[in-house]
Subunit: 244 residues, 2 copies
DNA sequence: CGGTTATGTGTATGTTATACACAGTTCTGA
DNA sequence: TCAGAACTGTGTATAACATACACATAACCG
């Protein structure tokens, strides 16, 4: 729970690294590593054991170098995580999706959600920190905006819609993570007991529990929220430019 | 960036603390502190300097005791943060709201959003960890479900809607935090430069920037997303139980 | 009044990111 | 050709942090 020593980052260097826009050194010994190799190693660890397992020491050990050797390639851990994220993001492929903004955006959301399922550590890696705009990050944003291009929605609203959907997906990702945590059963059981004991204070909640509102559904959790949001967007479009 | 030593929590003890259901000790010296006083101190620090400033050492110093003294009252830092959150949450007051589920839920969302603005540290305090159900946490949930009681929505959907709205609010809170971070300007400027240089790869994004999609609006950021979501919910209600 | 139970303290440990100096390596320019 | 500059990997050190543990002390119970 120790917090980062708040090292001041150098935005210019961080972005250059992220975009691969660094000058190659001309002198000195041959580098034995590359930022790419370090990133790939870190991603492998995160995929297998979660983001918490990714420490500088661990990555270095995996690469058979000292911890400090990494710092020759990456300004600090924060930048490494940024690299991991942008690399893992890849690019969305919405090539063949037809039928207007709604199917396109739905497909976009599905791919994004799949990404968070494939690399659950992306959530903690991007939570509570500025989104660093790497090339892939921008590609996803671009794709979402493109999907909305012919929607008739004002530009600012397109961006808002993007944020709304990403928020939904990240919210789902967090719920999924909580539920997969060990001891989740135990917590739920104890909370249930508490609720029984204090039921009178929470009538609506008690009723909802009785009605099975908290029984896990097997439907894709993405759907309900996504439909709500897109219905809302459609309604707005309808109001703004009535049946043209 | 050091991670917590993953101490195993005792769910029973944690919940008992959160609900004030602990037995008072009968022997031994008079306690000089209470969990409440510790929590209040920690909240004061978090309000003033952010959650990162809340360390066990800092809280203890503020209370003029040793760090370890706190552990007589609180099992660990995790539990302290849980206490902080539930305390800061307070209870929503939707007493006088009339007009059906929509105005009630809107008011609920407004109060929740106000809370995140008043105590921005609630976001990091609850991010990436299980939501521990304290009395106030449950009160908020109960209020949201109550607001939807007469909506005609199935119980499971009411819960989903609650999650959807909370997700939106938390997403906004994160955006607000990013934007308030120092150096945000600099990052944006550099990202803008990068976008100019690689504009061809991101046509929709470039167009959106040109159209002012990223110019800050002065409207309450909560509104658009909330309206979208509620429109979507309304549409679903309309479909499920057509004009009864 | 003796034993049990709590409290507050001091000290120690383990984990983490990262600063810094050094020795060795490769290239460049005179 | 060769001296110096630039770069690499290493070893060691530091500063936060949460938290375990043992000890002296204080209050209560029978």
């Amino acid at each position: 729970m120790a917090r980062s020593p708040e090292k001041q980052r150098d935005p210019k260097a961080s972005l250059a690294l992220l975009w691969g826009e660094q000058e190659q050194p001309r002198r000195g010994p041959k580098p034995s590593l590359t930022p790419d190799r370090i990133t790939a190693t870190a991603i492998a660890i995160a995929d297998a054991e979660g983001l918490d397992a990714v420490s500088m020491q661990r990555v270095a050990a995996e690469l058979d170098v000292t911890t400090m050797a990494l710092y020759r390639y990456v300004p600090g851990k924060t930048d490494l995580v940024d690299l991991m994220v942008d690399t893992a993001l890849g690019t969305p492929s919405l090539g063949g999706t037809v039928g207007g903004w709604r199917p396109r955006l739905t497909e976009w959301a599905r791919q994004c959600w799949a990404l968070y399922r494939r690399h659950p550590w992306i959530l903690p890696a991007t939570a509570m920190r500025r989104q660093l705009m790497g090339p892939n990050q921008l590609a996803w944003l671009d794709a979402a905006l493109a999907a909305l291009a012919d929607s008739g929605l004002p530009p600012a609203r397109r961006h808002d819609t993007f944020l709304l959907i990403v928020g939904h997906i990240r919210s789902l990702a967090q719920q999924r993570q909580d539920a997969n945590q060990e001891g989740d059963q135990e917590w739920n059981r104890l909370t249930g007991e508490l609720l029984e004991r204090h039921g009178a204070r929470f009538p609506a909640l008690t009723a909802a529990v009785a009605a099975g509102a908290f029984t896990p559904q097997d439907e894709d959790p993405l759907d309900y929220g996504l439909e709500c949001i897109l219905d809302g967007v459609a309604a707005l479009i309808g109001r703004t430019a009535p049946q043209s």
